[in-house]
């Protein structure tokens, strides 16, 4: 597993991948040998160009490069066409597959649960993306669903993982729809159901929506912000599919990492 190692005081060239998502913007800097220099995550807000600039500056600062020079940049994500830089543009579906295969170079199915959408991407043993599916136009099965539940419960999303671990009882949230589920939760609150049980049920609801997208054959890699911040969610997912799930390093940055790899390969003249 690679870890971010700030390279202080060095004059260096780098390649950057920027993933401008609906909630957060992520930047990953790689050196010419595709080794991680640094990464950064900032809130996207409403100005994607500004978010991309902030993420890049923050990552450059974290890398500690004395005279940073970007040799190539690839933008991806919801705001990929809004970068203020000269950048190649690749969809987040390709970038996530590229990033995932970099960390897990075998045939696998990538499940990425982001703030706005969930993706299931099939990657073959050579790293070819063979198929993909996105969730339908609905927040169920995405990070936005958990954000809505947190809002309804007046509990910070950051506390979800610890609370869910305390759950002692399985309950079911039956609805497809985020709004209907929120109503179901209010009914549960009226019935004095433990908050821990409700949060665990919300995790299970996201997992069910993802399992409805695809049979999820073979090895599974899970990326995205939900995987990054909710380790208990990963455990529940593993129980649901009955096998181990592989988590890339910095799972929230898989798309940006893939974008940075495309930047390196684009400069070398390769493809993915």
């Amino acid at each position: 597993m690679e870890k971010a190692r700030p390279v202080r005081g060095r004059r260096a060239e780098f390649f950057a991948g920027i993933d401008i998502g609906s909630s957060t913007t992520k930047a990953v800097l790689l050196d010419v040998r595709s080794k991680l220099l640094a990464s950064a995550v900032v809130r996207s807000g409403v100005d994607f160009g500004s978010a991309a600039r902030r993420a890049l500056r923050k990552a450059e600062a974290a890398a500690g490069l004395a005279a940073p020079r970007c040799r190539g940049l690839t933008a991806t994500g919801y705001g990929r066409h809004n970068t203020p830089f000269e950048a190649s543009v690749v969809t987040e579906i390709s970038c996530h597959a590229r990033g995932s295969y970099h960390h897990f170079p075998k045939a696998h199915t990538l499940v990425d649960i982001g703030g706005q959408d969930s993706k299931v991407v099939k990657v073959d043993a050579q790293g070819r993306r063979t198929d993909f599916k996105l969730n339908r136009k609905c927040a169920a099965g995405t990070g936005a669903f958990l954000e809505e539940i947190a809002h309804r419960l007046r509990i910070s999303l950051g506390r979800f993982d610890a609370l869910a671990r305390k759950s002692r009882k399985d309950i079911e949230l039956g609805s497809y729809c985020t709004v209907f589920t929120a109503t179901e939760i209010l009914a549960r609150v009226r019935q004095n159901t433990a908050v821990a049980d409700i949060i665990k049920a919300a995790y299970s609801s996201v997992i069910k929506r993802v399992l409805e997208m695809d049979p999820l054959d073979g090895e599974i890699v899970l990326s995205g912000g939900v995987a990054a911040h909710h380790p208990f969610f990963i455990s529940l997912f593993e129980i649901a599919i009955g096998r181990r799930i592989f988590i890339p390093p910095l799972p929230q940055l898989t798309g940006a990492w893939g974008a940075a790899l495309f930047a390196v390969e684009g400069r070398r003249g390769g493809d993915a």
Partner: protein
């Protein structure tokens, strides 16, 4: 891998002006007939027995064409809520809800498209065939109640594998049983030779349309699906007329000239796709330019190819010929037949993948719902993508998500084609 979209350059079709003229003339004829109460006007479903109606002297108006116009002019979303409020669910056909909503609101895009027209023509009779969907009869039933006009139709069985003589006999029989009631409304005696004349003109029209579609087997494809959706209008609303035949003779010449010059609808065509399902009318131009930017030709489709009607029923009975043409269409067939039709079309047109449009309110034209994309992928290794949207209700369409998926699909095709060129696995 890194792709940037090329600027879109839409190539104008010269025949488009003539298309506008012949459609305008037809709507003016209908408007005049509506004012003067002569000749009688029949409203007909798009795959209904139009030739029979023409043979009885009716002028024929197609509410589905009007609904598509509501979609294309993006006025549908102002109208759908009025129908929803009148008890017609947002989950049912958005052609129906747009058209009824427009009537409730006393609006029509015809008045903008053709100055002087202020409303749709008033019908004397409403005639449907359920071969396209079951909602059409509820659609016409609403007008029947509202305008106190007789409604009648043909019920076509669905999910047909083999199309048997029993089935055709049943449908032909239903058509024959419409005749006395239609004679009563029109005041004209049925004349079998007039029916044969209308059938001959329909045959000529749809055969020419078929040749225009088949021209897209050329690389690059001279027209795109988005062009086809516009230029198929005469095959729908003027089928059985000399105008439609004349129009398609002219369009075919233009298309053949494009083929001879090696000129495609998409400059620098890299990929060729099949579009399964309904168009997204309110985003037609936007999507046409989007695909041009991706240098991808949507070269064939279920929707437009459905109007290459099969007139080959070997019978002296024109009702049986008409029954075959109205029944041997994609939407009426069972899943194996649909799979075979797509497979053959993909092969014939040299397509790289299939794009399924799952239209929220149009289940019969959304063929991704019973595992067809997965079967095509598994059996043929054919790349397929399902996008979610709707024909008219743009509330069901996410532009960002759709475009991201299509771009990702093209990236997948590009990576795979680079590998096959380089010999890499």
């Amino acid at each position: 891998m890194s792709e940037t979209r090329a600027p879109a350059a839409y190539r104008k079709i010269q025949s488009a002006d003539r298309l506008r003229d012949i459609l305008g003339a037809q709507y003016r004829r209908l408007n005049r007939a509506s004012d003067e109460r002569h000749p009688k006007i029949a409203w007909c479903s798009s795959m209904g027995p139009v030739e029979l109606l023409l043979s009885l002297g009716f002028l024929v108006y197609f509410p589905e064409n009007h609904a598509a116009l509501l979609g294309a002019t993006r006025t549908a979303n102002n109208c759908i809520p009025a129908a929803n409020a009148a008890g017609y669910s947002p989950e049912i056909c958005s052609y129906l809800t747009s058209d009824i909503g427009a009537f409730i609101r006393k609006e029509t895009p015809l008045s903008r498209a053709y100055p002087g027209l202020s409303s749709v023509p008033r019908p004397d009779v409403l005639v449907h065939n359920t071969n396209q969907c079951r909602d059409i009869q509820d659609w016409f039933a609403w007008y029947s109640r509202e305008l106190r006009v007789p409604a009648m139709g043909i019920a076509t069985p669905r999910s047909l594998g083999e199309i048997t003589q029993d089935t055709l006999g049943n449908i032909a029989g239903q058509m024959k049983r419409l005749v006395p009631r239609l004679e009563e409304v029109s005041g004209t005696r049925f004349d079998i030779d007039a029916l044969r004349t209308a059938l001959d003109l329909s045959k000529k029209c749809t055969s020419l349309w078929g040749r225009i579609l088949e021209a897209n087997t050329s690389v690059p494809a001279p027209l795109s699906f988005f062009d086809h959706t516009v230029h198929m209008a005469p095959a729908v609303v003027l089928r059985g007329s000399e105008e439609a035949v004349g129009y398609y003779e002219s369009l075919l010449r233009e298309v053949e000239e494009r083929v001879a010059r090696g000129e495609g609808a998409v400059a620098g065509e890299r990929f060729r796709l099949y579009w399964e399902g309904m168009p997204i009318w309110g985003r037609l131009r936007d999507l046409a330019e989007f695909f041009i930017g991706l240098r991808t030709a949507v070269a064939a489709s279920t929707y437009c190819h459905s109007w290459m009607l099969n007139w080959t029923e070997p019978s002296e009975d024109p009702f049986l010929t008409l029954a075959r043409a109205a029944t041997d269409i994609f939407i009426v067939r069972d899943e194996p037949a649909k799979e075979k039709i797509i497979e053959e079309t993909v092969e014939r047109f040299g397509l790289d993948g299939v794009l399924f449009h799952d239209a929220r309110t149009c289940p019969f034209n959304s063929n991704s719902r019973y595992g067809l994309p997965e079967r095509l992928k598994r059996r043929l290794g054919l790349p397929a993508l399902t996008i979610h949207g709707d024909l008219n209700d743009l509330r069901c369409y996410s532009e960002e998500q759709t475009k991201t998926q299509v771009e990702a699909f093209i990236e997948q095709l590009a990576a795979s084609s680079r590998r096959s060129r380089s010999g890499r696995p």
